[in-house]
């Protein structure tokens, strides 16, 4: 990052948001017994798709 001349302090909040979303997504996944679609697939989506994965799970993954 440094050699690109990008100020890391400016981008740190983005990484923090990504981390928080993944953690909350995981906690919500643990607490959800029945998901829409395969449960393990959602785990993969939450962990591997950054930003969008947890959001998709929050909106569509859980039975309302």
């Amino acid at each position: 990052m440094e050699e690109l001349g990008i100020n890391f302090a400016l981008l740190a909040p983005l990484l923090l948001i990504q981390l928080l979303l993944a953690i909350i997504g995981l906690v919500a996944w643990f607490k959800t017994e029945e998901t829409n679609g395969p449960r393990m697939l959602w785990l993969v989506i939450i962990l591997l798709v950054s930003y969008i994965g947890p959001i998709l799970f929050f909106i569509f993954g859980r039975r309302q």
Partner: protein, 258 residues
């Protein structure tokens, strides 16, 4: 009051299913995404490479006003999408699962029920939107230049009306349809329809709710609030109020179960 009780119950529910955490985070992302990528575009181009040696890119100078309008444009795409997605099941879902009957056999009025649901969702969405815009404001002041608080506050308040309208529209369709999936599709179809109508008759419809953001742009550039902005705000508020009363009427006349 029953109204406050239901609002509190909804708040608690949204705390437990983490909406109060992830919705603000998502709105922050939506608000800062475009200004940040615009700021870093030259560096991204450098890093990605693939340009022949000696290629010179003139990036247009982005004013802070353009940058904050980028945040609003993203809000009107993804922000609205998230707002509709979290509102799509508030009444439709409770009707499907039978919770609505459990609440309405108690001495709770239909309108109290709808209004409480609406209030809680509007609070959640507006709080998240304001947090997102504050972060974007902070970034824009750092990266692009100053936007004064006197410019920022009216911008946020006027645009909030559009989000309130979108939430009200979703609540209205909630009372009309019983499946959240239908609610979200019909709401988005309506918003798209309004967008198309506005695009075609733009010069005639200066008080149309969709014109809010373009009037907000004018306000930033001219430094004073144009009269069309007041007009469009008034129309947006009126339509929202009418929709709320219409949802009460529809909800009362529709039967509960399938």
């Amino acid at each position: 009051m029953q109204w406050t009780t239901i609002v509190k119950k909804e708040m608690l529910e949204d705390f437990r299913n983490f909406k109060w955490v992830w919705v603000p985070l998502v709105f922050i992302l939506i608000a800062i995404m475009d200004p940040l990528t615009t700021y870093y575009m030259p560096k991204i181009m450098d890093a990605v490479g693939g340009m022949p040696d000696g290629t010179v890119f003139e990036m247009p100078e982005v004013s802070p006003y353009t940058a904050i309008m980028m945040s609003l444009t993203e809000m009107s795409m993804f922000g609205v999408l998230v707002a509709v997605a979290i509102t799509m099941a508030v009444i439709a879902g409770e009707r499907k699962s039978g919770v609505a009957e459990l609440i309405l056999v108690k001495p709770v009025g239909y309108f109290t029920y709808i209004l409480a649901k609406w209030t809680e969702k509007v609070i959640l969405i507006l709080a998240s939107y304001i947090i997102g815009m504050l972060v974007s404001w902070y970034y824009i002041n750092l990266l692009f230049g100053e936007i004064t608080i006197g410019e920022f506050v009216p911008l946020v308040l006027f645009y909030a009306l559009w989000l309130i309208f979108v939430t009200t529209l979703t609540i209205f369709y909630n009372t009309l349809f019983k499946t959240p999936g239908i609610v979200i599709s019909v709401t988005i179809a309506t918003l798209l329809g309004m967008h198309i109508v506005y695009r075609i008759f733009q010069h005639k419809l200066s008080w149309f709710p969709n014109s809010l953001s373009s009037h907000i742009g004018d306000m930033l550039n001219s430094g004073s609030i144009p009269s069309e902005l007041w007009g469009a705000s008034l129309v947006t508020i009126l339509v929202s109020v009418v929709l709320l009363f219409a949802s009460r009427y529809v909800f009362r006349t529709k039967e509960m179960a399938n």
